[in-house]
Assembly symmetry: C2
Homo-oligomer: 611 residues x 2
């Protein structure tokens, strides 16, 4: 225990040194948790730092990502980085960023948006327990301030529901948030009562700086079966240094007198802690595969793209054992129930908890699984911060949002995604797809599975005509010119593609030959097809079941600007708040149906009246 | 109690009739809660249906918005709507939308995205208790499925923290979600344990169809002081009709045999319930005002726009008693602490619970207060679904997001908002502002306060030069041409405006006269200024500290397309995931600093080398 105390002091000293070198950072938030981490490193965590990709490693997640100086000091103490690198903290080009990211091989996922590390930890634990089945553990260091985030509730609920006894939350109750005392101060019982009510085992540690007490708590956590454990530890922010200890106004800044602080902590040390490697043997579980052909839809029939998603995903899951599916309790609407029925061991019900659903996908992909998560597209907005952070994590995951746009009809605007294309385009490295028919939907699934980054597929509620044969190829980044014409180009996707095709027929009756481009890949976008359209026709009409901002139309304009193409573009989109009604009524009211497209196209063609 | 039973049966019958007329909807989810609502209407709810704007009215929020047939049946039973209107449910143009919206005067806020009604109810209760102080009450009908949403935790926490004894959550535990049983089934204790651990009073009602038991529970809720009450009632989905009662697969669809169902329920009735009017007297509290001039910053000095926000909001709060401020526990970063110190009764700490922060603003504005809520712009993404739904609620509220973009520097990407402009532009009826200096920031606050819809102001972390005098006017929808030039136009806002001004200086040295447009109002956008720039200069460079998708550059392209203007546009934006570093290093790396702007501008000017 003497060693543990010395190790903790070293972690404090190094946290102070790192923040001092950087001129910014969160040393006091690091110092409160130093004893917890010293105990964890010395005898509990099982992680081979030389083999960060070993699937049998425990996972260590700093949900309080701003305590990064502590994390990096741990890495140094474990011999994973050297002191010189520690002092590059927050420098341009350093792996040691202000908040942890997977730029470091021992960091599975980025943190720094509070309340996300625990949900992702639950995702990792679920993966370990139900997919990999290697007996490894997930340790999550939580701050007390972040317990106010609702995503913590979702994580608590799911960990208890799935009886995950391989996750331990270490809650660093240092009482002080950024601006003042937290809602619950040092009331450990407030936290443990909540966790216990949800089904967690809890251990309160009245002195979170006492190595003996911490050791007992960690042993109790490891011995607990059938439920997750929360160790709720009373600590002091800035512990050990009188300049900052338990004082307000000391959050997120280096110490004023680091030399005195380090002296007060007993000076620098060069301790090394031998972190235990994994003790389990064996390889992660794999699931048997069998060839199942993708579903085929007959040209001329009608089918909802959401239904094609479900059938296609089931078949993909048969062929690819690493594919898993998750849903937010609407699997009969998204048709992910097809996957669940065929592959129950690889389906995870996330109930109505979209943040946890995203967090789980992030955890799963960190271990090499290929998750597909689905819900109404409107409700993916609930998890937007998780999607944003997944991009920082360089995560590869797949999202399907169904029931997009006014075309859903009677359910009304609360259920209509009208901002999803904009929101998902504005995610770094994302892919945004919007198929118009069932075969196209199926054809996009395997490319999604094999793609880096966050892939989003927008699906429609109603049945749409099948216009593509089952053997057609739909490369991501492509577009299909589904009708040739040289007077005007109609650019559409999803439900509006069919409106555009209908408009092209109407226009043909007037002698206007409209080209129709199916922009099923909105990001990346097929610049060349659009450039040709700009060059070869008199104007473009873009039409989307989405607000005017940031969606298909803006994507087309950006592509044309990049191509240096100059052509009149009329953008049709939903401009007024819709209500309930039949899909056709709402498409007409929004001015995105075939009649509206016809009008807009007519106006773009010079002297079309004389044709 | 006989009347209550009959009334409940009528509510069931009318729910069935409405869904049958619509051909869609959620009758079974309505039927489970009919007895709860009958009791509420008959003696507990205090609401003058003839005076829906009366501030003394209780509020009734259907957090389970899909039970809209029940809500509308209640309105009919109360005499607020007639039977003919009831049967317009879900028709195009009807006020009776698939999910409730404020198109109906007795609906304060839109629901339908589960887990939002309770948080907004907490916002209404906080408004009633701390601002209006009229003694009225908020009744929220919750579904059991939606208790899985983390936003419910945030609502529970805040209601308990603020000791709101004027809110009652009626939890309709009908066991069945959309696809199957909920996580907790009929385990009432699961819900009440959670609520009680957080500090709520709870009442379990083992038979949520027994009028006597419900009456006792509501009386207990009304008598409870110092804490909110949750009535957790065991009910049966589709109660009273054998075709659907407690059966899976009956969610969200009309009954197959409504005639038999209505007969089973005892036929149609024409009962009217006299809902009590408010019993309190008096007017809502107002806060004294005093003239405080807006803060003034000296041209040539440097100040952070976030700091100007705090100072400006404090002054606005002095002049306008209806202005309130909220923050997500970062008030020393957003400088909303300035408001808190001056107007403590009108400042509300939302801790790190952004969803609840948004929900509270929605509740406050429903009662006529003018909320300004602030946090890091990146973390507003946590509440994106609430912002989306606030637009459906036709809410007028103001958001300030600080620490935007790579310009924040060392904290790294988790703290950098790089998608906020896209996300906020894609909110219906929104206003998106991005000031570049302190006086401009101050000048935008009062126009925000007076504006309809959701206003978003993006603020910067670092100090930027003050370039505008304090008397300059900044109309929403305007732009400032801060430097004249006829060769090329640089369009920027916020931190990049200063980079653009620097670039213009560099370009001037080369003989290139660059016009610089400050696009502080990104939505609505000043089309005319951009059209003139397109007409009068050889090209535009847009530059933004944001991902390329959906932000300032795309807004400019959309405006130019709308104006029919044709001009080469080079869009500069952040294209690679940033790390930590000094602001200048990160701006340079992203290619959005003055050097990058200079290069891009040079390429747009024909034969610029010969000038």
């Amino acid at each position: 225990m003497k060693f543990r105390h010395e190790l903790a002091q070293q972690l404090r000293v190094d946290s102070i040194r790192a923040a001092d070198a950087a001129g910014s950072g969160h040393p006091t938030s690091s110092m409160s948790a130093a004893d917890l981490m010293a105990a964890l490193l010395d005898g509990h965590l099982r992680l081979d730092f030389d083999q960060p990709e070993d699937p049998r490693n425990d996972h260590l997640v700093f949900s309080k990502g701003h305590a990064s100086p502590l994390l990096y000091s741990c890495f140094k103490a474990a011999g994973a980085i050297d002191d010189a690198e520690l002092l590059t903290f927050r420098e341009f080009g350093s792996r040691l960023e202000g908040h942890p990211t997977p730029a470091l091989p021992w960091v599975d996922v980025a943190t720094g948006s509070l309340g996300q590390g625990l949900p992702v930890g639950v995702g990792l634990a679920l993966t370990a327990a139900k997919l990999d089945t290697l007996g490894n553990r997930v340790w999550v260091l939580c701050g007390d301030s972040e317990m106010a985030e609702g995503s913590i509730w979702e994580a608590f609920e799911h960990a208890a529901h799935y009886r995950l006894d391989n996750i331990v939350a270490l809650v660093d109750v240092n009482r002080l948030g950024q601006t003042g005392e937290t809602m619950h101060g040092w009331d450990l019982k407030a936290y443990s009562d909540r966790a216990r009510a949800i089904g967690w085992h809890t251990v309160e540690v009245d002195d979170g700086h006492d190595p003996e007490r911490i050791e007992a708590a960690l042993n109790e956590a490891e011995a607990t079966r059938g439920r997750p454990t929360a160790v709720v530890a009373r600590t002091r922010k800035g512990k050990g240094v009188s300049e900052v200890e338990d004082l307000p106004g000391k959050h997120g800044k280096p110490l004023q007198d680091p030399t005195a602080a380090i002296e007060e902590l007993g000076g620098t040390r060069e301790l090394r802690v031998k972190v235990n490697p994994p003790e389990t043997v064996g390889d992660p579980r794999t699931f048997a595969t069998a060839y199942e052909p993708p579903p085929v839809f007959e040209v001329g029939d009608a089918a909802a793209t959401r239904k094609a998603y479900g059938q296609g995903l089931r078949a993909l899951g048969s062929r690819r054992g690493e594919v898993v599916a998750l849903d937010g309790e609407v699997s009969n609407s998204t048709h992910s129930e097809q996957f669940r029925e065929a592959h129950p061991q690889r389906y995870f019900e996330m109930y109505i908890a979209e943040q946890q659903m995203l967090a789980t996908t992030v955890g799963m992909q960190a271990r090499g699984w290929i998750p597909f998560a689905s819900t109404f597209a409107a409700f993916l907005s609930r998890a937007y911060d998780f999607i944003r952070m997944a991009a920082v994590s360089r995560a590869a995951l797949n999202l399907m949002g169904s029931h997009a746009g006014v075309a859903i009809g009677e359910d009304g605007p609360s259920q209509m995604a009208l901002e999803d294309l904009a929101a998902m385009r504005a995610v770094h490295g994302s892919t945004v797809l919007y198929p118009c028919d069932a075969n196209q939907t199926v054809g996009l699934l395997e490319p999604m599975a094999d793609r880096e980054g966050i892939c989003y597929l927008r699906a429609s509620r109603g049945a749409t005509p099948v216009i593509y044969g089952p053997d057609e190829d739909f490369p991501i980044g492509g577009a299909k010119t589904v009708r040739q014409g040289e007077h005007v180009t109609l650019v559409a996707a999803g439900v509006t593609l069919h409106e555009a095709l209908d408009a092209a027929e109407r226009l043909a009756d007037e002698g206007i030959r409209a080209r129709v481009v199916d922009l099923y890949s909105i990001k990346p976008i097929d610049i060349e097809t659009l450039r040709l359209a700009a060059e070869e026709t008199d104007g473009l009409v873009t039409v989307e079941d989405h607000w005017p901002e940031g969606g298909l139309g803006d994507a087309v304009l950006a592509a044309l600007a990049e191509a240096g193409a100059s052509v009149p573009v009329t953008k049709l989109a939903v401009t007024e708040m819709p209500g309930s009604g039949k899909p056709a009524e709402l498409l007409a009211q929004a001015g995105i149906d075939s009649a509206a497209i016809t009008r807009a196209a007519r106006e773009l063609v010079p002297s079309s009246g004389t044709r």
